[in-house]
C-alpha cells in the first residue's frame, strides 16, 4: 500500500536526555495509526518531531503531497486572551491564504454555531474548544491529522463526538490519522495499526496482532512506570 509517512531510526534528545531512539514505522495513506505508551514514553515528542517542531536525528519522510495538521492535547495559552475561535481560525486561514468560503464550509460541516465561534476561548467548554481546534486543524485541507489525546479533558458524550468526527474524516475524506491515546478500547475500535512506544518502538502492527497481553504488561510494567515517573512529555 501507498505510504504517506516513513519514519526510520528516529531519535530525539532533549536537554541531554534521550527521549526517543531507534524508532521506525510507516503510516499508510488513508489509515489510522494509534500510538500508545505510558506517561513520559515520548508520545507527544514523537508528534512534534513529525511536525518538524523538534530537532531530531534519523528520518521522518512525508510524501511530497502530505499536508499535515495537528490537534494538540491541551493549550498552555492564557485563557484570558481576548480571542475567539473565529479569530484563531481566521488567523490561520489568512496565513495560509485560504478563502473565507472554505473556512465557512468547515464551520458548517462541524456544526459550530456562531455564538460558539464568537465566544472568548476562555469561556468555551472543553468539548466546544476541542471542536474549534479540530476546525482549526481542518483549515488548509490537510490529508494527515495528528491527534494528541484529543479527549483527555472531555466527558463521555463529548468524547464520542470527537471520535465520531475523527472517524468520519478518515472514512469520508480519506484523511490519514495518527492518534495518541491512552484508551485501549479506542485503539481497538478505530486504529488500523498500533505503535507501542516507550522511548523506542516496542510493538507495531494491527492491534489484534500487536497488542498481546504480554506486550501490554511489558509496555505498562511497573519498571517502566517507576523509571519514567514524574516525567512530563
Amino acid at each position: 500500500m501507498d505510504k504517506i509517512l516513513n519514519v526510520s531510526n528516529l531519535g530525539v534528545t532533549l536537554d541531554g536526555k534521550q527521549v526517543l531512539k531507534n524508532l521506525s514505522f510507516d503510516l499508510e495513506r488513508g489509515s489510522t495509526l494509534a500510538i500508545i505508551g505510558p506517561n513520559g514514553s515520548g508520545k507527544t515528542v514523537l508528534l512534534k518531531s513529525l511536525l518538524g517542531i523538534l530537532p531530531h536525528s534519523g528520518k521522518t519522510a512525508w510524501a511530497p503531497d502530505a499536508r499535515v495538521s495537528y490537534v494538540p492535547q491541551k493549550i498552555d495559552a492564557d485563557i484570558h486572551l481576548p480571542m475567539t475561535a473565529k479569530n484563531l481560525i481566521s488567523a490561520k486561514a489568512d496565513v495560509q491564504n485560504i478563502k473565507d468560503s472554505d473556512v465557512n464550509d468547515i464551520i458548517s460541516r462541524l456544526k459550530i454555531s456562531s455564538a460558539v465561534l464568537n465566544t472568548p476561548i476562555g469561556h468555551l467548554s472543553g468539548g466546544q474548544f476541542q471542536k474549534a481546534l479540530i476546525a482549526f486543524a481542518m483549515v488548509g485541507k490537510p490529508n494527515v491529522i495528528l491527534f494528541d489525546e484529543p479527549t483527555a479533558s472531555l466527558d463521555q458524550l463529548a468524547e464520542e463526538h470527537v471520535y465520531d468526527l475523527m472517524h468520519e474524516l478518515k472514512t469520508k475524506d480519506g484523511i490519514s490519522i495518527i492518534l495518541v491515546s491512552h484508551e485501549l478500547s479506542i485503539v481497538y475500535r478505530y486504529a488500523d495499526q498500533v505503535l507501542c512506544l516507550n522511548r523506542e518502538g516496542i510493538c507495531f502492527g494491527p492491534p489484534e496482532q500487536a497488542l498481546t497481553s504480554e506486550m501490554i504488561s511489558k509496555l505498562y510494567s511497573p519498571d517502566h512506570a517507576l523509571h519514567h515517573h514524574g516525567q512530563h512529555e
Partner: protein, 256 residues
C-alpha cells in the same frame, strides 16, 4: 512658533499610537517584563552617545538592538536562568548608564525624557518609524496571534515562530526608541503597557482591544501634553499619571 510646538505633538501622537499597539500584543504575549528590561538597556546607550557626542537616539538604538538579540536568544530556552539573566541585565544597564552619564541633568533626561529641541530630521525619522511599526504589526498580526496562542500550533500552520518573535522584539525596540525622547528610559515602558492594560479591561474583542489600546495611548499622550504644558510639569511623568488615571477609571467598569 506654532510649528515648533506642533511637530513634537504630532510625533508624540503617532509614537503613542505605535506604543499602544505594541503594548496590546506584548500584554497578550506576556513579554511585559522583557519589554521593561529593554527600555533600561537604552540607558547605557544614551550614556555612550553623550560620551561620543553623537545623537542620543543613535546610541540608545545600538544597545537596544543588542538587548533585543539577547532576549530573543533567551526566549528560545525556557529555564529559570532566563529570569535571572534578565534581572542581571536590568540592574546592570541602569548602573552602567549612571556611570557613563556623569552629568546629573543629562541623567535625569535619560531616565525621564526630554532631549532638547526636536530637529526636523528627528521628527521625520520618528514619524516614519512609528508608522512603520503600526503597518508592520498590522501585517504581522495573524502570525503573532497564532504564535502567542500556541507556538506549536503556529509552527504546524507553517509559521516561522522564531522569526515572528524576532520581528516583534524589533518592533518593540523601535517603539521604545521613538517614545524615549518624551518619556525617558524609566517611564517609556509604561506608555507601552498601561494603555494595553486599560484596553483589556474594557473589551473582550480582539480587534477592539488592538484599536482601543492604540487610542488610549494617544489620549494619555494628548492629555498629558496639554496638562504638562499648561502647568509647566515634566511631560513624561504627567503622561504616565494620566495613563494610570485612565487605567483606574477602567477598573470601575462592571465585569460580566
Amino acid at each position: 512658533m506654532l510649528y515648533d510646538q506642533a511637530l513634537p505633538l504630532i510625533l508624540a501622537l503617532i509614537a503613542a499610537a505605535a506604543a499602544g499597539l505594541v503594548g496590546a500584543f506584548a500584554l497578550m504575549k506576556r513579554t511585559i517584563l522583557a519589554g521593561d528590561v529593554m527600555s533600561h538597556i537604552a540607558i547605557p546607550g544614551l550614556g555612550l552617545a553623550l560620551l561620543w557626542k553623537i545623537n542620543p537616539l543613535f546610541g540608545a538604538g545600538l544597545t537596544l538592538l543588542l538587548g533585543i538579540l539577547i532576549i530573543w536568544q533567551l526566549q528560545k530556552k525556557t529555564s529559570l536562568t532566563t529570569e535571572a539573566v534578565i534581572g542581571v541585565i536590568f540592574a546592570s544597564s541602569v548602573a552602567l548608564g549612571a556611570l557613563l552619564i556623569n552629568s546629573t541633568e543629562e541623567l535625569i533626561d535619560a531616565l525621564f525624557g526630554g532631549f532638547g529641541k526636536l530637529s526636523s530630521a528627528e521628527f521625520w525619522f520618528g514619524s516614519l518609524v512609528s508608522l512603520f511599526i503600526i503597518f508592520a504589526l498590522w501585517q504581522l498580526r495573524h502570525k503573532l496571534i497564532l504564535t502567542l496562542f500556541s507556538p506549536d500550533l503556529a509552527a504546524s500552520a507553517k509559521v516561522n515562530v522564531d522569526r515572528v518573535n524576532l520581528w516583534f522584539l524589533l518592533l518593540f525596540g523601535l517603539a521604545i526608541l521613538v517614545s524615549l525622547r518624551f518619556l525617558g528610559a524609566l517611564l517609556v515602558g509604561s506608555l507601552i503597557i498601561i494603555p494595553a492594560a486599560t484596553a483589556r479591561q474594557l473589551t473582550h474583542s480582539l480587534n477592539r482591544f488592538l484599536v482601543l489600546s492604540s487610542l488610549l495611548g494617544i489620549v494619555a499622550m494628548v492629555l498629558g501634553y496639554l496638562i504638562a504644558s499648561t502647568y509647566s510639569l515634566e511631560l513624561g511623568a504627567t503622561v504616565v499619571v494620566v495613563a494610570t488615571g485612565l487605567f483606574i477609571l477602567s477598573l470601575l467598569k462592571p465585569h460580566r
